[in-house]
Assembly symmetry: C4
């Protein structure tokens, strides 16, 4: 089974998700600075969610790049990931309008946590097919970043009820951790192409 | 005529349909549990519709994978299917806001029924071109799952007017029946590649 | 310059246009037949516009299929076509809410007319590059269908101010005329592949 | 790393951006000319933004066409560009409703300026990988158009607070400057293919 349509469909869904979030930035009712101010928290939440979904897209790009075969299980693990990512749109809108409320901050984190778990499931489904000797297995290694992300998201849940901004700072920190270029797969690629010369 | 653009366009439309449904999940007006509660039925309907459209996408993926040629008739049978799938978005929003009302439950089922019929028409248009000896014909066989789905959707229509939840349970059951991995085409693929060795 | 991205981008835009029109079908406020009734004109307009855009997509598919090269001029002629198609979304919503008013019926026709002219411009830009001996030139011939469509759209404009439904009937008739399978390019393809054997 | 998915994802996002702007054209509440009038400024802003995003798409098409390799840095420079382009949707809606107010005109220009800077960053990231002897470097040359655009956008900022229409005229002028066919890359392509014969 070819991976072409899986990539194309995922590209489509992720492109739409990252784009329709901007519809939550409602046109302000006035035309001065005062009218722009209430949009600021929604804008900041939009930036965070844009980066989070951008990270998923680049990681999806890297992972599928070194994947050679797919099967029906992987199709559904991928749809499961897209489902949780689709809810990022919804919780971004809710958090943007209630930036200092604990529940929206916690629910935003739950959606990020479930998306991260869905990523793990997808990664494991691909690893099961590719095998432990695959390029992907070598590139992922013990997946420290993935596991630290999961733990931070779990830690953020109770902290959201202490202060919403603590949870929000954690979500931003996880995103920054991933933004720092993750060259595991690229580096591995280069090494193997060096070795194969 | 190449099938590449048919796949790409269908991927695009299905990706958009599965994604814009999330726009029906309106941002709640409050920031506590009470504000989330009224969204629950819309959320559950969203989950069901996401799974239904996901099933159509994976089946479309499988069917086109073993299709070798297309023609103008298939292009239109495909657009006809996409038309009914596009209405899933609309009926999902309506059912989500009226989860226990008979008419929205029945109309939701009518749209699923017409989408299932459109699928049959598309399948037959492809079979007519590929011929009875094709891989696709072997993979579909007598299409028990497809026919059972049609009968269940028809049975749900009057039952929606008895109790809406009976019809809704039937729609969920049909979705679950398809979620159970349908390896007909994958299995057939494997067999033929074994045989051809 | 390869035509791959032109096709992919057009597929994307057309897929979105054909899909977001369904957002004009607002969720009814009630849950009975009376609540569905006011949506009927919007639904019918949606069906018409879905078919019109579907026709453009299949024709685009056929035309680009026999196109071998593109240039910057074709990119912009294509964007120009997409611009008018994007307005179909807007006029569909307006006509749906004012099905018997002359101005929305006329404006709907103006947008269809300008889209049809944009199609002619795109077709001519491709023909200029491909040359009069090309497969495309042979397939188009004297383009009777295209010219009749233009004339009917022009005729519909004043008639919309007599009775809106006359104009609407003309738009539906033009769509039906195109729905009748247009096998010019397919037939030509078959002939040439026969000849080339 | 292959550029296929970068192109596909960018096509998807740009296709969505150019299309969802049309959702800002709200269906008028009446059905006569008076109802259409208030939409005129939004329509004109839509035309401008459609052209601006169309220019980015065709330039993206040209630039990636002569790009041979990509890396993780380019993926993120591309996402950064898409982020600012996504805000064009938002500022188009705001400017359309406040066509003669200075702040929306200035903010529209800021978003165009930041998108233009993001383009420069993407271009430089690709040039750094392709090297100064690459086809891309030859095609870009000293990038007069890009630099003039940046300067005009900066000049428009204070002028928006003098008269909004001055800034708007500048934005339209920059768009026209790019619409005049920019055959640098096409021309270079032709030359090299001539030379390589």
């Amino acid at each position: 089974m070819s991976k072409g349509r899986l990539e194309a469909f995922s590209d489509g869904v992720i492109a739409i998700l990252i784009t329709i979030m901007v519809l939550e930035l409602k046109v302000p009712s006035g035309s001065d600075w005062a009218a722009l101010r209430p949009i600021l928290p929604t804008f900041l939440t939009y930036v965070l969610s844009f980066v989070v979904i951008g990270i998923y897209w680049t990681n999806h790009h890297h992972m599928l790049h070194v994947t050679e075969r797919i099967n029906g299980k992987i199709l559904w693990a991928n749809l499961h990931l897209l489902f949780w990512l689709s809810l990022v749109t919804f919780v971004t809108g809710w958090l943007g309008e209630n930036i200092s409320a604990p529940l929206p901050a916690a629910v935003y984190g739950i959606v990020l946590l479930l998306a991260a778990l869905a990523w793990k499931i997808l990664q494991n489904a691909i690893l099961a097919l590719e095998g432990p000797e695959s390029k992907l297995a070598a590139a992922i290694g013990d997946d420290v970043k993935g596991n630290v992300s999961l733990m931070l998201y779990i830690a953020a849940l109770p902290l959201a009820f202490v202060r919403a901004w603590i949870a929000e700072a954690i979500y931003a920190a996880v995103a920054l951790m991933w933004l720092v270029p993750d060259r595991r797969i690229e580096r591995h690629e280069k090494h193997s192409s060096v070795r194969s010369r």
